[in-house]
């Protein structure tokens, strides 16, 4: 087994339900604070944040909830938190008994009977698959990549096996899928351009993003109404709704509030028109963009390669190869981590980690040890850091 790297978790953003962010005082945390992970010496390997509570899973299989829901339970391999539903993947009793997918009401403290349960057959387990293929990605995608869960009916949805799903992410009204070959698919509602097919029409079935064909992607992430993917070479593509600057494209509402980071944006206030649909190229004198229905290539500072992206409902976070964290989009609850509550339509580095000489660390080769940014659906960000000695 690869050398296990350990580090600390940090969080920032909305914590109005007493979710364990640092000091835990007040309803909002504007700068990263070390996470108070429940349990002494708990080795948290997975964090899933919903609006009012957070789920932590440790390497030992222990599940802890913090916030509006609180409980502890054992035998959990993975958890996925949403307001309506807490979904857990629990090891079946004994070898070969497979894994059970359980859905609980968040306030149930995992006692009594789950709302529903579904056995994930042992053949879906990737660990023992011939050829040593890595297990399929985390919830809401099930091991084996044959189905996924969702907080709304139908709660359990099969996926066509030929899709060879590697990762799946859910937005408020759409879904993104990344397959083994690095092709991105999307489906669901499209009225905010979040499907990336160039229209505002809905798609019932997974449809490949033609604009990205030929560029293998390493990661996908879904916000409430926007979508992000990261290519194997470290480029970021982004599309969907930009009302809070979450696409890092000029946002009219940000300019009007006077909080746009870019000087050009405020200069455009008089002449800029609210472009409802626009082509991908940004750069130069760009008009305001409310909706971007095609993938756009994002410019991070030169030389920066992205390795992981993650989204809250209206903000975006990206970790680079050199361990830096960039955030942009909606910032009203401090979820961007820049010590204020401004929203941004440009990427900005979170200086806290630079100041403390912390490097954000990501394993992409060993998914079971994957340390990722997990912004909460609505507000918060959690981040794993390695102490840079």
């Amino acid at each position: 087994m690869a050398e296990e790297r350990r580090g600390s978790w940090f969080g920032f953003g909305f914590c109005g339900f007493g979710q364990a962010l640092g000091s835990g005082r007040g309803r909002q945390v504007h700068s990263p604070e070390p996470l108070q992970t429940p349990g002494e010496g708990a080795d948290v390997c997975r964090v899933s944040a919903s609006w009012s509570y957070t789920a932590f899973v440790t390497r030992g299989g222990r599940l802890e909830l913090s916030g509006s829901a609180g409980c502890a339970a054992g035998g959990c391999r993975d958890a996925w938190a949403s307001e309506a539903l807490l979904v857990v993947l629990r090891a079946g009793p004994g070898r070969g008994a497979g894994t059970e997918l359980q859905a609980w009401a968040p306030g149930s403290a995992l006692s009594g009977e789950p709302l529903w349960a579904h056995t994930v057959g042992p053949e879906a387990e990737g660990e023992d698959a011939p050829g040593g293929e890595p297990q399929a990605g985390a919830l809401p995608l099930l091991p084996g990549g044959r189905a996924y869960v969702s907080p709304r009916p139908p709660f359990y949805s099969p996926l066509a096996p030929e899709l060879r799903a590697r990762r799946l992410e859910l937005g408020a009204e759409h879904a993104l899928l990344l397959d083994e070959a690095g092709q991105v698919f999307s489906w669901g509602q499209g009225r905010h351009g979040q499907l990336g097919h160039g229209t505002l029409e809905a798609e019932l079935e997974p449809r490949p993003l033609e604009a990205l064909q030929g560029v293998p992607m390493a990661e996908v992430a879904a916000g409430g109404w926007h979508s992000v993917c990261v290519s194997e070479t470290g480029d970021i593509y982004i599309w969907g709704w930009n009302d809070s600057g979450q696409l890092a494209l000029p946002s009219r509402s940000l300019a009007e509030v006077g909080k746009a980071a870019a000087g050009e944006a405020s200069g455009l206030k008089e002449d800029g028109c609210d472009v409802r649909t626009a082509e991908g190229e940004s750069g130069g004198l760009a008009p305001f963009i409310a909706i971007q229905p095609f993938p756009a290539l994002l410019d991070l500072p030169p030389g920066t390669d992205a390795v992981k992206a993650s989204c809250g409902s209206r903000h975006t976070a990206v970790v680079t190869r050199t361990g830096e964290l960039y955030t942009w989009g909606w910032g009203k609850y401090g979820q961007l981590g820049h010590k204020d509550t401004s929203s941004l339509d440009r990427p900005r580095r979170v200086e806290y980690f630079v100041d403390k000489r912390l490097q954000s660390f990501l394993f992409s080769t060993d998914p079971s040890n994957q340390k990722v940014i997990w912004p909460g659906r609505k507000k918060t960000i959690y981040l794993f850091e390695r102490m840079n000695l």
């Binding site: 909305f14 109005g16 339900f17 309803r27 609006w51 009012s52 509570y53 509006s68 307001e83 309506a84 009401a105 968040p106 306030g107 408020a172 009204e173 509602q189 009225r191 229209t199 505002l200 029409e201 809905a202 409430g224 109404w225 028109c273 609210d274 472009v275 409802r276 649909t277 409310a290 409902s313 009203k332 609505k378």
Partner: protein, 414 residues
């Protein structure tokens, strides 16, 4: 009433009293009955916000209200609007109520009352009625307490726009004599209207029915600003809703008039398809529901009344609606063209779901190479003038262009 002379604190005091008088007396009554769709965490936060409010902790209540508003706003933006569960709209309205009242708890600065009114209007626009339509009442109280009065100070150019020199000398007034015109009737009986127009689905202009409504005499720009100037309304910006640059935005009626009607507007702004009369009941007293609506199946409450207020030149592209329509013209004239639903093929509707009820053809400047059948499609047209009502049968295609500063009221019924 020398409003401006009172002490700011005293004024704030009476405002607080007036608002408190509108709220339910007990904490238990200041709640919403919500179904399963609203998650427990939200219900808990609502209760907490009410506790904070009743406990006099306005600042913290404001914070909780913000969280309620932000969360429910996301629900309002998930899925098609018609599928948004009513409970989420009620939660949103409740958040607006708490926020508006908390904003006014502090000894008032003028900004606070205007901000609170804007919050109320957001609750009215996006929320659903709660606690006996309390937001409408709160808005009326706030409006009455705006320190500088309802209207902005008079500017240098105070003439009515129709007295001004025509800004657009080149407004094109179609010669409707060369086109087949919509028939006109003076006060037909209910039976006659039903037999000859409603049942067969034929358009007609009704004269002598609305011409004595109070709005015909009362509605000037000054009056509208007086009654509704500080209220927030949705405005469509852009020549027509099929354009790429078209967008919707929110602003006060005063801002709309000054930006898109008075001061040499650069863009076309249209206060269109807005249920202004639910938002501002005072205006509703100036209009009536045409008697002919009783020939329909629905109740009076189910009739949708929309305001259409904008400068010369606003255009509604050729489209059809799923209900019967009485379009009442109050101020200014509109050129209207009508095509029967039987001609739909010649009108080339968009094939997208969003615009399937809208034609691709620009009626007064059609691309006949792209849309050849359009040239032969028969139509009726008219210039609708103040006091007249146009009956647009269900699904009848219609195109509307304002020839002057115009105010129309439409009644959608079934």
């Amino acid at each position: 009433m020398a409003e401006g002379d009172r002490e700011p604190l005293a004024r704030a005091g009476t405002l607080r009293e007036a608002l408190r008088a509108l709220l339910p007396p007990t904490k238990e009554e200041l709640t919403l009955q919500l179904g399963e769709r609203v998650e427990r965490s939200v219900v808990r936060l609502l209760r907490e916000a009410v506790e904070l409010f009743c406990g006099g902790r306005g600042g913290e209540c404001l914070q909780a209200s913000e969280a309620i508003l932000d969360y429910s706003w996301e629900k309002l933006n998930t899925g098609p609007w018609r599928d948004v569960h009513r409970d989420w709209r009620r939660v949103y309205a409740f958040g607006c109520l708490l926020k508006a009242v908390c904003l006014c708890e502090e000894p008032g600065d003028a900004g606070a009352v205007a901000a609170a009114l804007r919050v109320c209007d957001m609750g009215l626009l996006m929320g659903a009625a709660i606690l006996g339509d309390i937001l409408t009442k709160v808005a009326a109280v706030l409006q009455a307490h705006l320190p500088s009065g309802k209207r902005p100070a008079p500017g240098p150019a105070q003439e009515q726009p129709h007295e001004k020199k025509a800004r657009h000398d080149r407004v094109w007034i179609p010669d409707v004599r060369s086109e087949r015109t919509v028939p006109r009737l003076r006060c037909p009986s209910l039976q006659h209207f039903r037999k000859h127009f409603l049942v067969p689905g034929r358009p007609v202009i009704l004269e002598g029915v609305a011409d004595q409504w109070p709005c015909m005499k009362k509605w000037s720009l000054e009056y509208i600003q007086d009654v509704a100037g500080c209220r927030t309304v949705p405005v469509e910006v852009g020549s027509r809703y099929t354009d790429e640059e078209w967008s919707q935005t929110l602003m006060t009626v005063n801002e709309f008039i000054s930006k898109y009607i008075r001061d040499e507007p650069r863009d076309v702004g249209y206060l269109a398809q807005h249920q202004l009369f639910d938002q501002i009941p005072e205006l509703k007293r100036d209009i009536s529901i045409p008697d002919y609506c009783c020939l329909g199946d629905g109740d009076e409450e189910e009739i949708t009344i929309n305001a259409w207020f904008g400068p010369q030149g606003t255009v509604s592209p050729l489209h059809q609606d799923p209900q019967q329509n009485f379009l009442v013209q109050v101020t200014g004239r509109k050129y209207i063209r009508l095509y029967s639903p039987q001609e739909s093929e010649a009108l080339y509707p968009h094939d997208t779901h969003l615009l399937h009820n809208t034609s691709q053809v620009d009626v007064e400047n059609p691309d006949l190479e792209k849309f050849p059948k359009f040239a032969e499609a028969p139509f009726l047209s008219c210039i609708l003038s103040p006091g007249e009502i146009l009956f647009i049968p269900v699904k009848y295609w219609h195109y509307v262009r304002a020839l002057d500063l115009s105010f129309s009221v439409s009644f959608w019924w079934s």
